[in-house]
C-alpha cells in the first residue's frame, strides 16, 4: 500500500514561563492511503498536539516543532511556509475538532461556512459551490440541504452540527482527514451515528483518517491500526486485533483493563494508579516506570528500544528484551 503520510521523529515543545513543555518527544508513524489510524492515550499525552502539528496549527509562539519530519505525499510539511500550508489545509488535509457547538461560527450561515473553503481553493461559481455544498450535506445525512444552507449553526442540534463540521472538512475532497476527538462532546447514541458516518464516508471516498481519541470503544469500531501514546511518545503500535488481543505494553494492557466490557459484566475495572510524568522534565527512562506493575531497574535509567512483534506490531518496552523474558532466578 502506498504511504500517504510519514511522521518521523517529531518533537514539539511549548515554551512557557515555567519552562519548556516537551509535549511530543519523538513520534514516528506511517499512514497508508484509505486507512484509519487511531491515536489513543490519556489527556495530555500529546495526541492532539501531534494532530495539530500535521496541519501546522500549533499556536506559535509558544508552540514549536523542534525536530522531525512530516512527509505528506512526498512533500515535507515542517519546513513549508504558512502561505504554502494554506494550499494544503482543507484541500489535501482537513481537520475536525472536538466540540461541534463551538467549531462553527455563530454569525455565518451554514452555506457560507461550507462553501468559503471551496471558493478559496477553486475557481468556482457561487451556484456551483452551493450545489456541491448540498451534495456534501446529503452525503453526511442532513435532510433538506437546500433550506439548511440558509440556516445558522444555532438552528442545528449537536449531532447535526458535527455532521456539518464533517461536511465542511470533506467539501474539497481531501485525502486525509484528521479527527481530533470527534465524538467526545456528543452523547452516546449520536456517537454511534457519527462513527457510522465515518465508515460510510471512507467507503465512498477512500479517504484516510487519523482518529485522535481516548475512547477505546470508538477505536474498536472504526480503526484499522492503533497507536498508543504515553507522555509524548508512541509506546505501542499495531493493527486493531494485535492491540486488543495481544497488547504487550503494560500501559496498553492497563488501558484495556480500565474500559468496561459488556460481555464480562462481572469483571472489575482496574484503574491505572498514579499520574503521567511532568513533561517539563520528562524522565530519561521509560515514562511509565513509576506506574508500571512490572517495572525493572533498567526501565528507570534507559528508554527501551523498539521491538517488532510482527510486521505491523511494534512496542517499546524492556519486557520484550531477552533478559527480561527469562524467568527470574532467585
Amino acid at each position: 500500500m502506498e504511504k500517504l503520510l510519514q511522521v518521523k521523529d517529531l518533537h514539539v515543545s511549548f515554551v512557557t514561563y515555567g519552562g519548556e513543555v516537551q509535549a511530543v518527544r519523538g513520534v514516528s508513524f506511517d499512514l497508508h492511503k484509505g486507512e484509519t489510524l487511531a491515536i489513543v492515550g490519556e489527556s495530555g499525552c500529546g495526541k492532539s498536539v501531534t494532530a495539530n502539528s500535521i496541519m501546522k496549527l500549533i499556536p506559535s509562539p509558544p508552540g514549536k516543532i523542534t525536530a522531525g519530519k512530516i512527509i505528506y505525499n512526498g512533500q515535507e510539511l515542517v519546513t513549508k511556509e504558512e502561505k504554502e500550508m494554506r494550499h494544503i489545509r482543507g484541500v489535501d488535509i482537513s481537520m475536525i475538532f472536538q466540540d461541534p457547538m463551538t467549531a462553527l461560527n455563530p454569525t455565518l450561515t451554514i452555506g457560507e461556512q461550507l462553501t468559503e473553503g471551496l471558493r478559496q481553493h477553486q475557481q468556482i461559481s457561487r451556484q456551483a459551490a452551493n450545489q456541491q455544498a448540498m451534495d456534501i450535506l446529503d452525503l453526511v445525512g442532513i435532510p433538506n440541504p437546500k433550506e439548511r444552507l440558509r440556516q445558522y449553526p444555532h438552528q442545528f442540534s449537536g449531532g447535526m452540527r458535527q455532521r456539518i463540521v464533517i461536511a465542511m472538512a470533506l467539501i474539497c475532497e481531501p485525502e486525509l482527514l484528521i479527527a481530533d476527538e470527534p465524538t467526545t462532546a456528543l452523547d452516546v447514541t449520536i456517537q454511534a451515528q457519527i462513527l457510522e458516518l465515518f465508515e460510510k464516508i471512507q467507503k465512498e471516498t477512500g479517504i484516510a483518517i487519523i482518529l485522535i481519541t481516548h475512547d477505546l470503544g470508538v477505536v474498536a469500531k472504526i480503526a484499522d491500526r492503533i497507536a498508543v501514546m504515553y507522555a509524548g511518545k508512541i509506546i505501542e503500535v499495531g493493527d486493531k486485533r494485535e492491540i486488543f488481543y495481544h497488547a504487550s505494553h503494560p500501559y496498553t494492557k492497563g488501558l484495556l483493563l480500565s474500559v468496561p466490557r459488556l460481555d464480562r459484566p462481572e469483571e472489575k475495572l482496574i484503574p491505572i494508579d498514579g499520574t503521567p510524568p511532568d513533561l517539563f522534565s520528562p524522565p530519561v527512562g521509560c515514562p511509565f516506570t513509576a506506574r508500571c506493575p512490572q517495572a525493572m531497574e533498567v526501565c528507570e535509567k534507559v528508554y527501551p528500544y523498539q521491538t517488532a512483534l510482527s510486521d505491523t506490531h511494534q512496542v517499546e518496552c524492556w519486557l520484550q528484551d531477552e533478559k527480561a523474558r527469562k524467568p527470574a532466578v532467585l
Binding site: 482543507g90 484541500v91 482537513s94 475538532f97 462553527l104 455565518l108 468559503e116
Partner: protein, 310 residues
C-alpha cells in the same frame, strides 16, 4: 419585525413623554422667569407678557399646552429670540450639530475598530502597547482640555488648521478630533479585548484549518463576532458625544444646537428648553433603536421579532 418596530416606536414615544414631563417640572422648579432681566418693565407689561406666553395660567394648564405643542411638533416662538420660532432655531442649529456628531461617531468607530484589531493581532507587541497607551490617554483627557490644546498647537502655534467656526472640511478637523478621541479610545480597548477573546475560539481554528487567508479569517470570522460589545456600548457613546457637542460647539464657536440648549436654560426660555430637550431625547432614543436593530443584523441568534416555535 413590523410588530417589533411598532412596539419599539410606542416605547420610544413613552420615553420621550417621560423625559418631557420631567423637564417641564424641573424647568418650573428653577426660580426666576424669562423676564427677570428685562429692564423698564412695569407690572402691567410683565403681566401682559406672561399672559402672552400663558405663564399666568395654573401649572397643569401650562403642562397641557406644553404637551399639545409636543404633539403638534410646533414649539411656538422663542421668548428670547422673539423674531424666530423654536422650530426655526432648531432647523438652523441641528444640521450643524448633526454633522459634527455623525463625523465624530464615524471617525471614532472606524479608527477605534482599526486600532483595536491591530492591537489584538499584534498582541503584546509594539503596536499593541502603542495603541493601548494612546487609548488610555484618550480616555483620561477630557475633550475640552484636548480641544484647547489642539487649538493652541495646531491653529495658533503651527497655523495648520483654522481654530474655530464651521464652514469647510478643514474647519471640521479639530472639533472632530477633540470630540472623537474619547469614544475612539473606548472602542479601541473594547474591540481589542473582545477580538482577543474571539481569536481563541474554536471556529477561528476551524477557519484556519480550511486554509482561509488571514485577512478573511480576521474580517469575516473574528470581527463580526467581536463587534457585539462595541455595538452595545455605542448607545452610551452616542449620548456622550451628544453632550460633548455642547462643550465642543462652545469652544470652537460652532453655530449648532448646543448653545441654544445652554442659553435657553440660563435664560428660562421655556419654549426653547422644551424644544431642544424633546428634540435631543427623541434623537437619542431613535439612535438607541438603530443600535438594537444593528444587533439583529450582526448576530442571527438575536431575534427581533416574535420567538420562533422550536
Amino acid at each position: 419585525m413590523a410588530s417589533y418596530i411598532i412596539k419599539r416606536f410606542l416605547i420610544m414615544i413613552m420615553t420621550v413623554l417621560v423625559i418631557a414631563t420631567l423637564t417641564f417640572f424641573l424647568m418650573h422648579a428653577i426660580p426666576g422667569s424669562p423676564f427677570n432681566e428685562e429692564r423698564g418693565t412695569n407690572d402691567v407689561v410683565q403681566a401682559n407678557l406672561e399672559a402672552h406666553y400663558h405663564l399666568n395660567e395654573p401649572i397643569y394648564i401650562q403642562y397641557f399646552i406644553y404637551l399639545k405643542s409636543i404633539a403638534t411638533l410646533d414649539f411656538g416662538p422663542s421668548i428670547k429670540h422673539p423674531t424666530e420660532s423654536v422650530n426655526e432655531l432648531l432647523g438652523r442649529g441641528f444640521p450643524i450639530s448633526f454633522e459634527l456628531g455623525m463625523v465624530t461617531i464615524i471617525v471614532a468607530v472606524l479608527s477605534g475598530i482599526v486600532l483595536g484589531v491591530l492591537a489584538a493581532l499584534k498582541h503584546n507587541g509594539f503596536i499593541d502597547y502603542l495603541a493601548m497607551a494612546c487609548a488610555v490617554l484618550g480616555i483620561s483627557i477630557p475633550n475640552f482640555v484636548l480641544a484647547t490644546l489642539l487649538i493652541q498647537k495646531m491653529a495658533v502655534d503651527w497655523e495648520l488648521l483654522p481654530p474655530a467656526t464651521w464652514s469647510s472640511p478643514m474647519h471640521m478637523i479639530l472639533p472632530t478630533m477633540a470630540l472623537a478621541t474619547g469614544p475612539m479610545a473606548i472602542i479601541a480597548r473594547l474591540t481589542r479585548s473582545s477580538m482577543l477573546e474571539v481569536l481563541t475560539q474554536d471556529y477561528i481554528k476551524t477557519a484556519k484549518a480550511k486554509g482561509l487567508k488571514p485577512y478573511k479569517i480576521v474580517i469575516k470570522h473574528a470581527l463580526k463576532n467581536a463587534l457585539m460589545p462595541v455595538v452595545t456600548i455605542l448607545g452610551t457613546l452616542l449620548a456622550g458625544i451628544l453632550t460633548g457637542t455642547f462643550v465642543i460647539e462652545k469652544i470652537f464657536a460652532i453655530p449648532g444646537m448646543g448653545r441654544y440648549f445652554i442659553e435657553a436654560i440660563n435664560q428660562r426660555d421655556y419654549p426653547l428648553i422644551m424644544g431642544t430637550t424633546v428634540f435631543y431625547s427623541f434623537f437619542l432614543v431613535f439612535m438607541l433603536f438603530l443600535v438594537d436593530i444593528a444587533y439583529g443584523v450582526l448576530d442571527p441568534r438575536i431575534k427581533l421579532h416574535k420567538k420562533e416555535s422550536d
